[in-house]
């Protein structure tokens, strides 16, 4: 029909003309997409945040282990007293660690608000040791978990800000004392 361009020719003309129009306007197509990519998802977490979340996850896992040992029963009075004390200190660790995590409104709460035992390990978290195939005394499993926690926290010191590094180092030292106390319990 005269006066009407065929639809295909119109589309081809538009595709050809758009870059030309942008060039004459002094724009590059990339300028149109400057700023955060709305389809790019959430920006990656800072290294310190990842390390802190890993420490929170590991601490929650330790608390769950202690709670399991307590609920399993079979502890003598000395064991029960020590384990209750160490559990309380781990709960203090968790409170202090969570206090360092900023969770803005609208952000995923992730490990910050999970109850101990429900937290899932992040990529860098050292999982608490899997249950061994052979039967091990619960005090021994706690001692091993304490040592592993202390080692993991020391590995997390790399590249985190000084105050967080000091908190990790202090908790690692506390875990080391727990391991020693549990060892002494086993030999007394």
């Amino acid at each position: 029909m005269p006066g009407h361009l065929p639809r295909r020719r119109l589309l081809i003309a538009s595709a050809t003309a758009l870059p030309l129009l942008l060039a004459t306007a002094g724009c590059r197509s990339a300028d149109l997409f400057a700023g955060p990519d709305p389809l790019g998802g959430r920006p990656p977490l800072a290294h310190g945040t990842v390390a802190l979340e890993a420490a929170i996850t590991a601490e929650a896992g330790l608390i769950s282990r202690y709670q399991s040992v307590i609920s399993g029963g079979g502890l003598d009075a000395g064991e029960s007293s020590l384990i209750a004390t160490l559990l309380a200190q781990h709960q203090d660790h968790l409170v202090r660690l969570r206090g360092r995590l900023v969770v803005p409104a609208g952000a995923s709460a992730s490990v910050a608000a999970q109850s101990p035992g429900t937290a899932t390990a992040t990529a860098t978290a050292t999982p608490t040791p899997a249950a061994p195939a052979r039967i091990q005394h619960p005090i021994g499993t706690l001692r091993d978990a304490e040592r592993q926690s202390a080692d993991s926290l020391v590995r997390q010191l790399t590249g985190v800000e000084p105050a967080l590094a000091q908190l990790f180092a202090s908790i690692a030292a506390s875990d080391a004392t727990h391991a020693a106390a549990l060892s002494a319990l086993g030999t007394s």
Binding site: G48, Q89, R100, L157
Partner: protein, 150 residues
């Protein structure tokens, strides 16, 4: 942009150079070597043997720190001839309290090294803190949730 989780900013840790932090730890180790000499005189049996073992550990740590300071091109500060003892040591209980106090001082000194940016020094100090915290717990008969932190 989506809000993201982050580490809460704390009041800045007092900036300490690696050499200054190591010198501080050296001073704490020197004080421990001196103090264990005082405490050990009031201990006996297994406690005295433990104090002797810990005294040796502090001497070794002192030598290690001095070597690290020298390797950084500085001169290790010499030990004092005398250190103040926080309270009178008259018996085994006060000797053990002194030993715990000395270990707490060592732990706090190593914690300052953890604040420096060198990963190697951080790891060294964090492991040293574990040793001193375990020794402190031995003398105190109890553990602490946050050794070295106030």
């Amino acid at each position: 942009m989506s809000a993201v989780r982050a580490v809460r900013t704390m009041s800045p840790v007092r900036a300490v150079s690696p050499v200054a932090a190591l010198q501080q730890a050296l001073a704490a180790e020197d004080a421990a070597v001196y103090g264990y000499g005082v405490a050990g005189a009031h201990l006996s049996g297994a406690s005295q043997a433990t104090a002797q073992q810990y005294w040796t550990a502090h001497r070794e740590a002192r030598d290690t720190l001095a070597a690290m300071i020298s390797a950084l091109g500085a001169t290790p500060v010499a030990a004092l001839a005398y250190y103040d003892i926080p309270s009178a040591v008259t018996d085994a209980a006060s000797a053990e309290a002194l030993a715990a106090h000395l270990e707490d001082g060592v732990t706090a000194a190593y914690l300052d090294i953890v604040a420096v940016s060198s990963d190697r020094l951080r790891t060294f100090a964090a492991l040293a803190m574990q040793d001193s915290a375990v020794r402190a717990a031995h003398w105190q008969g109890s553990t602490d949730a946050f050794p070295g932190l106030v």
